[in-house]
C-alpha cells in the first residue's frame, strides 16, 4: 500500500510539471536502552514510516516529506511544494542531475540473530555485564552513561528514470561515556561502536572487556601520567585517531557539495579545489578510500538515496588526490558521474553527499609495534577525547586520552592529554609509515540543515607521523 503511494507521488509530481521525480519510503523499527550510573533510565521502541519526494520543477529542486500516508494529504503537500519550488525558479541557476544507469535491485543484510528478535532483557543484560565488568576494576567511576540502540530500516526507492530499489539494513549502535575519578582529578572518555549487522556483532565487540581495559588505562593515566614533551617529536597514532583524521581532514573536504559552496552556511566549505585533483598531497605510502560496500560497516549500503550503485572511492591514491565524493547534482555541475555518495538520515531529509566508510588502507609494516620500534623519542596516542577542525578542514586538533611516551622504540610512561594541533597539509606530509592492523570505528556524522546525523565508519591502521610538535 505504502509503496503504491511512493509510485503515485512521482506520477503526481510529473502531472504537475516535474521533469524528474523520485520517492523514498522508509520504515524503521528500532528499540533503545539507556543506563546511567547503573540504573536503567529509560527504554523504548519506535516505528517510523514516512515518505520523502524530491523533484525538479522549472529547473529548480524541491523536496517534500510526510508521515501522513494518505492520498489526499499527500497530493495537497506535493502541490504546495511544487508551488513553492516553481516560484523559487525566479532566482535559481537551474539544476540538473547527471545521467546514471537505471537500476532495479533488491538487497538485504542477512542477520544470524535478528536485532528485532532479541528480547529486551538480553539487550539490557549486555549493559549489566558492562556495569559488572567496570565494577570489577574497583576504580572510582562516578559517571557511567551507556546507551544501546538497534533496529532495521526498510527502504523502497523509485525514480522517474525507471529505477526501483528495495533494501533492508539492520543497525546496532552502542555509545558510552565514562568519568574516572582519582583524588581530585577526573578523566573522561566517550566512544561508539556501530555496525550494520545482526545482534551477533556484539559477541565480537566484547564490550565488557573493552570498557574495563579503557577504564584501567585512563585510571593509570591519571595516576602516573606525565606532561607531553615540548619540541619536535615523532608520533604513532592508533586506528581510532587514524579514522577520525581520515574522516575530518580528507573525507569532509573531499565532498563535492562543500567544494562547490552548497554547504557554506552549514558545515562549511573546503580547502580542496577541483584543480587539486591529480596533485600530490601525501607521501606515496598513503592511500585513503571511502567505501560504502564494506560488509558490516556502520555506513554500509549498496545503492545510495539517488538510486546510484555504490562503489569504493579512492580519495587519495599513493599520495595523489584521486577522486571526490559526488552526487548526481554535483556530478552534473562538474560534468562527470555520481559515485553514489548521496544519503539522507531519514525520510524527511534531502539526500546530500555523505561519507560512508572512510579509511586509510594498510601499509607495509606488519604491526603497530614495528612502527613504535622506529621511534627514538616520541609519543604513542592510542585514542582521543577532544577533537575539532575548522570549517574548511584545514586546522585540526586531536587530543589524546590514552597515550604513552616512546623511548628508544618502547612504550614507557602514560602521557596526559597530548594535543596534535596541525594544518591538514602538514599532517598528511608527516605520515611516513602505516601498519596493517586495520580497524573500523563508527560514528554519527553531522551535516546539512536541518541537521542530519548519519551512521558512518572511519578507520585505518596505526600510523607513524614524523617531526610534529605537540600543541598545548
Amino acid at each position: 500500500m505504502a509503496n503504491e503511494l511512493a509510485d503515485f507521488a512521482i506520477k503526481h509530481a510529473a502531472s504537475l510539471g516535474a521533469s524528474y521525480a523520485e520517492a523514498r519510503l522508509e520504515n524503521t523499527e528500532a528499540d533503545a536502552f539507556v543506563a546511567k550510573n547503573g540504573v536503567l533510565e529509560v527504554s523504548g521502541f519506535d516505528t517510523s514510516l514516512g515518505l520523502g519526494i524530491r523533484f525538479i520543477v522549472k529547473n529548480t529542486l524541491g523536496f517534500v516529506s510526510t508521515n501522513m500516508l494518505e492520498k489526499s494529504k499527500l497530493k495537497h503537500l506535493i502541490e504546495k511544494a511544487v508551488k513553492l519550488t516553481a516560484r523559487s525558479s525566479k532566482i535559481t541557476d537551474g539544476v540538473s542531475l547527471s545521467k546514471e544507469p537505471v537500476e532495479k535491485a533488491k538487497y538485504k543484510v542477512s542477520q544470524k540473530k535478528n536485532v528485532l528478535d532479541i528480547r529486551p532483557e538480553e539487550k539490557v543484560g549486555l549493559l549489566k555485564d558492562i556495569e559488572s565488568s567496570l565494577a570489577e576494576t574497583k576504580i572510582s567511576l562516578p559517571g557511567r552513561y551507556l546507551s544501546l540502540s538497534s533496529g532495521v530500516t526498510k527502504k523502497y526507492y523509485v525514480n522517474s528514470d525507471g529505477s526501483v530499489i528495495e533494501s533492508e539494513i539492520p543497525r546496532i549502535n552502542f555509545y558510552y561515556m565514562l568519568t574516572i575519578l582519582r583524588g581530585a582529578k577526573t578523566a573522561q572518555r566517550m566512544w561508539q561502536y556501530g555496525s550494520a549487522s545482526g545482534w551477533e556483532i556484539t559477541d565480537k565487540w566484547n564490550l565488557p572487556s573493552l570498557l574495563k581495559s579503557e577504564a584501567m588505562a585512563l585510571d593509570k593515566n591519571l595516576k602516573d601520567g606525565v606532561k607531553p614533551p615540548v619540541g619536535v617529536t615523532d608520533l604513532v597514532i592508533g586506528p581510532e585517531i587514524a579514522g577520525i583524521i581520515a574522516h575530518e581532514s580528507c573525507g569532509h573536504p573531499f565532498e563535492a557539495d562543500r567544494i562547490l559552496g552548497r554547504e557554506a552556511a552549514q558545515a562549511g566549505e573546503s580547502y580542496m579545489t577541483i584543480d587539486m585533483i591529480g596533485k600530490k598531497f601525501a607521501n606515496p605510502c598513503v592511500t585513503l578510500v571511502d567505501d560504502p560496500t564494506v560488509p558490516g560497516a556502520f555506513g554500509y549500503y549498496l545503492y545510495d538515496d539517488e538510486g546510484v550503485k555504490a562503489r569504493r572511492r579512492f580519495l587519495i591514491k599513493k599520495g595523489i588526490i584521486s577522486e571526490i565524493l559526488q552526487n548526481r547534482e554535483t556530478a552534473a555541475t562538474l560534468k562527470t558521474h555520481s559515485n553514489g555518495s548521496a544519503r539522507a538520515s531519514e525520510f524527511n531529509k534531502e539526500a546530500i553527499i555523505r561519507m560512508a566508510n572512510t579509511f586509510f588502507l594498510p601499509g607495509e609494516y606488519k604491526t603497530e609495534q614495528e612502527l613504535i620500534e622506529g621511534v627514538k623519542s616520541g609519543v604513542y596516542i592510542k585514542n582521543f577525547m577532544e577533537w575539532n577542525i575548522d570549517d574548511k578542514r584545514y586546522n585540526n586538533r586531536y587530543v589524546g586520552a590514552e597515550a604513552y611516551l616512546i623511548k628508544n622504540g618502547k612504550i614507557t610512561v602514560p602521557v596526559i592529554s597530548p594535543a596534535i594541533e596541525v594544518t591538514t597539509p602538514a599532517l598528511y606530509r608527516s605520515i611516513d609509515a602505516l601498519a596493517q592492523n586495520l580497524e573500523f570505528h563508527s560514528a554519527s556524522c553531522g551535516k546539512g540543515e536541518p541537521m542530519q546525523g548519519i551512521p558512518v565508519t572511519h578507520g585505518g591502521p596505526s600510523i607513524r607521523l614524523r617531526g610534529l610538535k605537540l600543541g598545548k
Partner: protein
C-alpha cells in the same frame, strides 16, 4: 484534518488504557507540524522543502520501569474531513495494539529506583503572547521567495560577493494529556533565517534571525551584518597564540552559552557531562553575570506554556551575580533532590528552553575601547570537550575574527582556536554590552539571548605546523 477534539480523544484513550493497565504514570503527547524551507547557495535558491508531520508520543511508567514509544500509524487522522466514529475506532484499535506491545516490552525491564512520578494537575496556563502568527502559518510562496531575495540583496549591498543560507518557517499544534490530570494544548509558529556572506575563500560573516512572528524577523538587518563582517574580514593573516582579551559577538558567545545552559540540567550533572557538579550556590562566574531560563517571555523563540509533563513554565534564575542558583528539574528529579520542579521537563532529561544572559550598561563601542590588545570573534563552531566534568574544551573561531589594538580593529585573522575551560571563561567575563540579540544557529540548539561579551585572559592556540 481531524479536529483537535478528536485528536485529544485519541490521546485520552491511550492514556486511559495505560492507567487501566496499572500505570504509575502515563504521559501522551501529540503534535501536528507543517513547515517549509528555502536553501540558497551562491546567491541563488538551491532547493525548497515542504513538510507535514503528525505524531503521538507515549511515556509510561509501571513499577518504576520507564518506557517510551511513538505511534505514527495514524493516517486516518490526517484526512481532509473530520473522521467518523468508525475511523476513530480503527485508530483506537491500532493504539491498543501499541499499548499491549508496550506492556510486554516493559515487563522484564529493571525499575528506575530513583523515579518519583510526574506532576499532579490540572494546571492553569497563561497564554504567552506573540508565539503564534497566522502570517507565518499562511505565508505565501511569493512572500517566502521575496524574503530570501531581500536577504541575499542586503549582503551583496554590504560588499559580499556571494552568500548562502536557509529560510525556514514552521507552524504547529501540540497536545498533552497525562495521568496527573493534565489536558493541555498550544499552538505556535516560528521563522528562522540564516545567512553566511563570503567575500573571498577566507573572508566571511555569518548571522541569523529567529522569531515567532513575521514582523519580529529582521532578515535585512541580519543579512547586512553578515555582509559587513565578510567585507571587514578581507585578507586575513595567520594569528598568533597567546592569552587575549576577547570580545565575543552574540553568535559566538551564544554557542558557548548554549553549553553553559545545558550543563545546568540535573541529567547532565548526573551523567558526568556538566562542569557544574557540586557547584550549587557556589561562585561559577564573575558577579556581573546573571543568566536565566525563561520560556514565558512573550514572542520569544524558545517560549512555550507548559513543559513535557504539563507543568506551567516559569522563569528560573540559573546564575545570579555569578552564583549558580539551581539545576533544572522535572517533578521526579526535584522530588529526588527534595526541591521543586523548575518546570523544565524533559521527562527523562530536564533542560533549558529559552536562555537569557542579562545585558550590561556599556555600549558595544565601549567594550572595544577598553581593549589595548585583544580579539573580536564573531562566530565559533565545533566545540568539543576533553573533559566535561572539568569544563576543558576547545572551539574554533569561524567567519570574521579580528585583532583589536587600542580599541580599534587592526587586522582580520584566521586559523586560531580557543582552548579553554568553561568555568575560567565565565569567571573572566569582565564586561557585558547593552545590546542583546536572541540567537539560534547551526551551533546553537537552545535559543539564547546575549549581548556582546568581553572576556579577559582567553587562551588562544594555533597549529604548530
Amino acid at each position: 484534518m481531524a479536529s483537535d477534539l478528536q485528536f485529544l480523544e485519541l490521546l485520552h484513550h491511550i492514556k486511559n488504557r495505560l492507567v487501566k493497565a496499572g500505570a504509575d504514570d502515563a504521559v501522551v503527547s501529540g503534535a501536528k507540524v507543517s513547515g517549509s524551507q528555502i536553501k540558497f547557495v551562491n546567491n541563488k535558491i538551491a532547493k525548497t522543502g515542504t513538510e507535514g508531520i503528525v505524531n503521538v508520543g507515549i511515556f509510561f511508567v509501571k513499577d518504576k520501569k520507564v518506557v517510551t514509544t511513538s505511534f505514527e500509524e495514524i493516517a486516518e487522522i490526517t484526512g481532509d474531513d473530520p473522521f467518523d466514529v468508525a475511523q476513530l475506532n480503527i485508530l483506537k484499535g491500532k493504539a491498543d495494539r501499541i499499548v499491549d506491545k508496550l506492556l510486554l516490552f516493559s515487563k522484564p525491564l529493571q525499575p528506575k529506583q530513583d523515579w518519583f512520578g510526574i506532576a499532579k494537575g490540572p494546571f492553569n496556563y497563561r497564554q504567552i503572547a506573540g508565539i503564534y502568527d497566522s502570517k507565518i502559518a499562511n505565508l505565501s510562496a511569493e512572500d517566502e521567495v521575496d524574503l530570501v531575495e531581500k536577504g541575499i540583496n542586503a549582503t551583496v549591498s554590504e560588499g559580499a560577493k556571494r552568500c548562502g543560507g536557509i529560510f525556514e518557517t514552521s507552524s504547529g499544534e501540540g497536545f498533552l494529556v497525562t495521568s496527573g490530570g493534565v489536558e493541555a494544548k498550544q499552538r505556535g509558529t516560528s521563522a528562522y533565517f540564516s545567512i553566511r556572506a563570503m567575500l573571498e575563500k577566507d573572508s566571511s560573516g555569518h548571522n541569523t534571525a529567529s522569531a515567532r512572528t513575521l514582523s519580529g524577523l529582521d532578515i535585512e538587518e541580519s543579512a547586512k551584518f553578515a555582509g559587513h563582517i565578510a567585507s571587514l574580514a578581507k585578507n586575513p593573516k595567520h594569528g598568533q597564540k597567546g592569552n587575549y582579551a576577547v570580545i565575543f559577538a552574540p553568535m559566538a558567545w551564544g554557542a558557548l552559552l548554549d553549553r553553559v545552559a545545558d550543563a545546568t540540567s540535573i541529567f547532565s550533572v548526573e551523567a558526568g557531562i556538566s562542569f557544574f557538579k557540586d557547584m550549587l550556590n557556589k561562585k561559577v562566574a564573575n558577579q556581573i553575570v546573571n543568566i536565566y531560563d525563561d520560556p514565558t517571555l512573550p514572542g520569544s523563540y524558545g517560549s512555550y506554556s507548559f513543559d513535557a509533563e504539563g507543568v506551567p513554565t516559569q522563569k528560573n534564575a540559573l546564575i545570579e551575580k555569578g552564583i549558580l542558583k539551581t539545576y533544572l528539574h522535572n517533578t521526579s528529579t526535584a522530588r529526588k533532590y527534595r526541591t521543586k520542579t523548575t518546570a523544565s521537563a524533559g521527562l527523562v532529561s530536564p533542560g533549558p528552553a529559552n536562555v537569557v544572559l542579562e545585558p550590561g550598561k556599556a555600549s558595544c563601542d565601549d567594550l572595544f575601547k577598553h581593549i589595548k590588545k585583544g580579539l573580536y570573534i564573531t562566530n565559533v563552531w565545533y566545540t568539543r570537550f576533553q573533559n566535561y566534568a572539568a569544563g576543558d574544551f576547545s572551539t574554533i573561531p569561524r567567519d570574521g575574527m579580528f585583532l583589536i589594538e587600542n580599541g580599534e580593529i587592526k587586522q582580520p585573522l584566521k586559523n586560531l582556536r580557543i582552548s579553554e575551560n568553561m568555568i575560567h571563561l565565565l569567571q573572566n567575563i569582565s564586561e557585558l554590552a547593552s545590546d542583546s540579540k536572541q540567537m539560534t544557529s547551526w551551533e546553537i540548539d537552545i535559543p539564547v539571548t546575549t549581548p556582546h561579551v568581553l572576556i579577559n585572559d582567553v587562551k588562544i592556540t594555533k597549529p604548530t605546523k
